[in-house]
């Protein structure tokens, strides 16, 4: 009873209250602690990608003056969401109204796959195509933004630039060769090309087609002291934005990847090799009046030279005597000839990096027959790129150097190899100047720019021998002769004049080279020389020629 009478005394009350308060405090501390931890150590909002660092924008390609040759812009591509399409026939019709080349069946099949929420239809749309598609008003079209490689100059340098896949991976040309560098983005890739000179070269090759029905053409312009390639063109040209859709004739970059027997433009090399070997003096005279049999071949001159019994070395080049060239080769022999041609890179050898060119096709046996034919440019097939390098020593005092395709080009760091004396180079250069002033290269003369050069006409080899109806005509030039700055090579493949019958290099490639030089020289800051700087009297063999004339 006492228990009922006595007022209730809850002896556990305070203790329980403390326990509850303690638990609550603990929970509070845990919540606050956790909140503080999250607040101070939680994920950084800014670290959450807004648009997860984009893949580096593919680098631009520019010319030596900064002109844009290739760039990447944001473009639009067309995709569809099949799961959101109710009536696929409308969508297919709408898309085909803009892209009639797309297969109706393939599009219908694509739209019918309702499990898919995204499928590409056409990538790399033009603004006009986007507008036309939007104007159709059909459902389910997705315009996805993505980087798009563009070539603002269209076909300009198309072969050399090459192209990328739709996903921006370099597939051909500079886009492929320098793919790793371009994919990193950053500074643009600056080529040694000069867009203006490239344009002139390509336009003259294009115009050549108006005069000659031809299968292909090549043009190259090189700076003589550095080997910097200022222009390199292969005709027919390609548009890089078409990603290799052109026909087979246009696909090959003939400047680098074609091999040709280039004919008499080899003769200056024959003369230089013999001069270097000490078996030829510039004043020596030759009898080219009769065909000469060397090895298994009988060498003839298609157009016998005037005064063929006393022909100077200069005239052998100026009037392109096969007999004279073969005679000179015979003096030095095949080993010396082969060694010299190897020195100037015609028997192989490629730079470790950068654009490569086709390896040569050399004679199986370098015997007397090969020696005689190679002397005037037959029997040895090389790429135009490999050949044009051989004229650099004539222009720069005797040094062979590899081409440079990318700026900056430091003349002090360019690898040089002496392949002939400065005297030999100057002597042969004078002879080539005379070839343009008085010989087969007259049509290459560009007033004020002292063109020196050599024509080459070579019938094309076939399994059954040489074809008299199809030839390669070429002209290799150096200008200005008194202070050489550039080497130019023009090669025409099966050039057939549309009017007239002359289809030798004197009337085809030489004329094109002259036009290229006349237009390119001012763009290359070459000042014209208006007074004549070469005369026959100044050349070796002049005395004999004069005596002969009298």
């Amino acid at each position: 009873m006492r228990a009922f009478a006595a007022p209730y005394e809850d002896v556990w009350g305070p203790r329980r209250a403390r326990i509850v308060a303690g638990v609550l405090a603990l929970i509070f501390v845990i919540i606050v602690g956790r909140s503080a931890y999250v607040a101070f150590n939680g994920p950084n909002r800014s670290a959450l990608p807004i648009a997860k660092a984009e893949v580096a924008r593919r680098g631009d390609i520019i010319d030596r003056k900064g002109e844009l040759l290739a760039t990447t812009v944001q473009g639009k591509s067309l995709a569809v969401d099949p799961s959101a399409i109710w009536d696929s026939r409308d969508v297919v019709a709408g898309i085909r109204s803009v892209f009639p080349d797309l297969s109706e069946d393939a599009l219908t099949a694509l739209m019918s796959d309702k499990k898919r929420q995204f499928a590409w239809v056409r990538r790399g749309l033009t603004d006009e195509q986007v507008k036309a598609l939007k104007d159709t008003g059909v459902e389910g079209l997705v315009f996805a933004e993505e980087p798009q490689r563009v070539y603002p100059n269209g076909k300009l340098a198309g072969h050399f630039l090459g192209y990328t896949s739709i996903d921006g991976v370099g597939l051909e040309g500079a886009e492929r060769i320098y793919n790793d560098q371009l994919r990193k983005g950053g500074a643009p890739l600056q080529l040694t090309l000069d867009a203006s000179v490239q344009f002139v070269l390509e336009e003259e090759l294009e115009r050549a087609y108006a005069d000659f029905d031809m299968k292909g053409a090549v043009g190259i312009v090189l700076e003589v002291n550095t080997g910097a390639v200022r222009a390199i063109a292969s005709w027919p040209a390609i548009d890089p934005s078409k990603r290799g859709e052109e026909g087979n004739d246009a696909k090959t970059n003939r400047a680098l990847n074609a091999r040709m027997e280039l004919g008499s433009i080899y003769k200056p090399l024959t003369v230089a090799a013999a001069l270097e070997a000490g078996v030829l003096k510039p004043t020596d005279m030759f009898d080219t009046s009769k065909p000469v049999k060397i090895g298994a071949v009988t060498v003839r001159d298609l157009h016998p030279l005037p005064h063929a019994t006393t022909v100077s070395v200069t005239d052998i080049l100026a009037y392109s005597s096969n007999i004279g060239a073969a005679d000179i080769a015979q003096r030095m022999g095949p080993v010396t000839q082969k060694t010299f041609l190897a020195k100037v890179g015609l028997l192989g050898g490629q730079p470790a990096v950068g654009p490569q060119w086709a390896s040569p096709l050399v004679p199986a046996q370098w015997d007397a027959t090969a020696m005689a034919t190679v002397a005037y440019g037959h029997g040895l097939s090389v790429s135009p790129m490999a050949f044009v390098m051989t004229y650099l020593p004539f222009a720069n005092g005797g040094e062979y150097l590899l081409p440079s395709f990318v700026e900056p080009v430091d003349p002090a760091k360019v690898e040089r190899k002496r392949v002939m004396s400065a005297q030999t180079a100057a002597t042969v250069l004078d002879m080539m100047r005379m070839t343009v002033l008085e010989g087969s290269g007259k049509n290459a003369e560009a007033r004020g720019y002292e063109v020196a050069g050599k024509t080459g006409t070579a019938e094309k080899p076939t399994p059954n021998g040489y074809d008299p109806d199809r030839n390669i005509t070429s002209f290799a030039a150096i200008f200005p002769a008194s202070r050489p700055q550039y080497v130019v090579l023009v090669v025409l493949d099966e050039a057939q004049p549309r009017t007239g019958t002359q289809r030798t290099a004197a009337f085809t490639a030489a004329a094109i080279a002259g036009k290229v030089i006349a237009r390119a020289a001012p763009l290359l800051d070459v000042r014209p020389v208006l007074e004549a700087t070469a005369t026959r009297a100044a050349l070796p063999g002049a005395d004999a020629a004069e005596a002969r004339a009298q």
Binding site: I50, V73, P152, F199, A518
Partner: protein, 117 residues
């Protein structure tokens, strides 16, 4: 002692708030930086597009055509070059036919007096 604990607690709380605000501020700044970076990237894309447009508009075949058709310009001709010494003489000849600066076109400069010995 009790007061000290309360003050200490308040100080700790204040510091925690300050740190939290600093962190929030840093995050906001970082966010703004990211926004600006995105804007820069957008601008760069726009610039790339404009440069491509410019390259299209200034390509040699287009400029050459316009220069020829609308301005009557043509590629430089070797006869248009002259040596610096010859230029001096040529300029002298030209000056005798050109008006003096600021003068109407019909005013012709007198031929310079010959140098007296």
């Amino acid at each position: 002692m009790k007061r000290l604990a309360i003050i200490g607690g308040l100080v700790v709380a204040a510091l925690a708030v300050a740190v939290y605000r600093a962190k929030l501020g840093a995050e906001d700044t970082q966010g703004r930086i990211e926004d600006l970076k995105a804007q820069v990237a957008d601008e760069e894309k726009a610039i790339a597009g404009l440069r491509a447009d410019e390259a299209v508009l200034t390509r040699p075949e287009r400029i050459g055509g316009i220069a020829q058709q609308q301005l009557g310009l043509a590629p430089a001709n070797p006869s248009q070059y002259t040596a610096a010494e010859a230029l001096k003489q040529k300029l002298g000849e030209e000056r005798t036919r050109l008006p003096a600066p600021g003068q109407p076109p019909e005013t012709i400069l007198p031929t310079p007096d010959p140098v007296k010995p």
